[in-house]
Amino acid sequence: MIRTYSSKEHIEQLNVAVKCENVTVEYKGRPNLLNINMEVPSGVLLAVLGPNNSGKTTLLKTIAGVEKPTAGNIYIYSRPTHALKNDVAYVPERNHVNWDFPINLFDLVLMGSYNRLRRAEQPHKKDKIAVKEALERMGLEKLAKKSICDLSRGEKHRALIARALVQDARIYIMDDPMVAADEESINIIVEVLQELRAKKKTVIVSHHDFVTIPRYFDMVALLNVKLLGIGKTEDILTEENFEKTYGMSAGIIKNIRLYMDESHDRTK
């Protein structure tokens, strides 16, 4: 497997946010993930790529503590996942949420504060202020009173991220946060990802749009039940790796490379 960190010493200096050690997750006797070993340094934006049914969602859920691995261990800042419910904010796929539930947007985002509250304890004023700020950041402040079932697809994506922002975690795990979202939502989400990185938060995102990967992400993990590669975006996005992961021709990679070169020239 390819691992392309800048140097061994450098990686050791970095604080490891997430460490997977021989993680296997099975469903009805078939592995969704098989012996995943990886380390995600603190403060990076990592994209998890892979074809359908490659285990992307399972990997994110397992790191977030939603699913338990059949074998192996996951450590969040060197501690087991179950010890740290406040350190990980999980944004599930939009379709996994019951949008028919009778609550408004403000209440949905306020749920981000529930992990800090004791049983029967009600959210405090500071939690409500955090919700207002998160809604403003995601451009949803005017929709606070709107029922969640009346939100558009892009607004639903933004609402789930706003809830994660209220959690104020150290690690953000987002499952396809931009899929089928409108341009305005994608722009806001990308800005928020950059802001999180600036705040030294670690963000792990499953993503489908190959072309935008170099622009948005520092690191890429290629997954197809097994981890096929993890490292810096430019080192991992190679024709060989893509063929290994997707079994597809290298045409896409050429386009991405072209795009990366153009972006590089523009930044120069």
Partner: protein
């Protein structure tokens, strides 16, 4: 302590409130079959309890009824996890089996003890009987047994909701998020199962085996048409069930027919009325909204054509041409064009129709909102 009628009304209303509390959460979680499973499965426990106790409001009936209701719901969940069958199908098989065991035992008791025990009370419920079993402390009659048993279960339900309100909410909206913050779905499931089982068992005397499910689900399902907030939903569902109890009782008592039957019938009528006439979610309102939207879309279709296609004909020829190309009736197009003229979206100059600035602004605004992501 109170008159018989007053006591019966209070017992029915408490019973309805007790049932509608777990009902609101079951409806929210789209877990409709759970009420039915609990209801039928409780019969086994109630029948066993009746071997030792002769009245339906006794604590033993409630405890054993709740235990078999929990057993039924647990079996459905377990079998669903292990097989590919749908929960609804498993629920019918499991709960019917437990129900039949219960009926066999109850029939046997009825056969051997016919003077004291009427089987139809279990099937249909009979609120009038609630006043017969009295609770006495130091020889003083302090009210019916049913009143206190239902009151206690209602208080338990209210306390549980107050303590676990956040958890119910998160679990209902997003199970994955709940799991990520260490909120166990199994715990919430179990709490709801206990609330449902207790409510079902305690409501047997008022609603009977065939009607308790409607008692649990009906008011909450009707309430869903009036509110989109969980807290309001619980309140509206309690309000609707209380109304149904009062109306059902006032009809059934003088007519000497089944009180529970009248109440559940009225719950059904309330539900149908809500489906039809609810101010925001009722199908009649939605139908008129749809018609209005369709009419608006018709206007936009005409505005878009005039905005994007150059049609250089006189007013009447334009209407004819539009009618032909859109495959609409002349009168329909004529009405729409006149309406758009009245709304100042179109104007007629020298017998020709043009789009006004307002019309152009309106169609541009509309087109901006019409992409596939909205």
């Amino acid at each position: 302590m109170f008159s018989m009628e007053f006591e019966i009304v209070i017992v029915i209303i408490l019973s309805a409130i007790t049932c509608s509390i777990p009902g609101a959460f079951l409806v929210m979680r789209k877990n409709y079959y759970a009420a039915d499973t609990a209801n039928r499965s409780a019969m086994l426990g109630i029948a066993i309890a009746l071997i030792f106790s002769s009245f339906l409001s006794s604590p033993l009936v409630i405890v054993l009824g709740s235990l078999t209701a929990i057993l039924g719901m647990y079996l459905v969940k377990k079998i669903k996890g292990l097989t590919h069958f749908r929960a609804k199908g498993i629920s019918i098989i499991v709960s019917s089996t437990l129900l039949c065991f219960g009926i066999l035992i109850a029939s046997n008791i009825s056969l051997n003890n016919s003077a004291e025990f009427d089987l139809s009370i279990i099937y249909l419920g009979d609120t009038a009987f609630t006043s017969f079993n009295r609770l006495r402390i130091a020889g003083i009659d302090i009210g019916s047994y049913a009143f206190y048993s239902i009151l206690i279960i209602m208080i338990i339900n209210i306390i549980i909701v107050m303590v676990y309100y956040k958890e119910f909410k998160i679990d209902g909206v997003d199970k994955y998020y709940a799991a990520s913050i260490e909120m166990k779905e199994e715990t919430i499931d179990f709490i709801l199962v206990i609330m449902t089982a207790l409510s079902v068992s305690v409501s047997f005397q008022t609603a009977g085996i065939f009607m308790t499910s409607a008692f649990i689900l009906g008011p909450a399902a009707a309430a869903l048409f009036y509110t989109k907030r969980l807290s309001t939903l619980a309140i509206v569902s309690v309000f609707l069930s209380s109304i149904a109890c009062l109306v059902g009782f006032s009809i059934a008592w003088p007519a000497e027919v089944s009180i529970s039957g009248a109440i559940v019938s009225f719950i059904g009528i309330l539900f149908i009325l809500s489906v039809l006439f609810a101010p925001e979610e009722g199908i009649i309102k939605k139908y008129f909204d749809y018609l209005a939207e369709q009419k608006k879309l018709d206007e936009y279709i005409i505005l878009d054509i005039l905005n994007t296609q150059s049609i250089d004909t006189s007013s009447s020829a334009l209407i004819e041409r539009l009618a032909k190309s859109l495959n609409w009736k002349f009168l329909r197009v004529s009405y729409l064009v006149n309406k758009l003229k009245a709304d100042k979206m179109l104007e007629e100059v020298n017998g020709y129709i043009y789009l006004t600035l307002e019309g152009k602004y309106e169609i541009d605004k509309f087109m901006k909102t019409q992409n596939c992501f909205h």
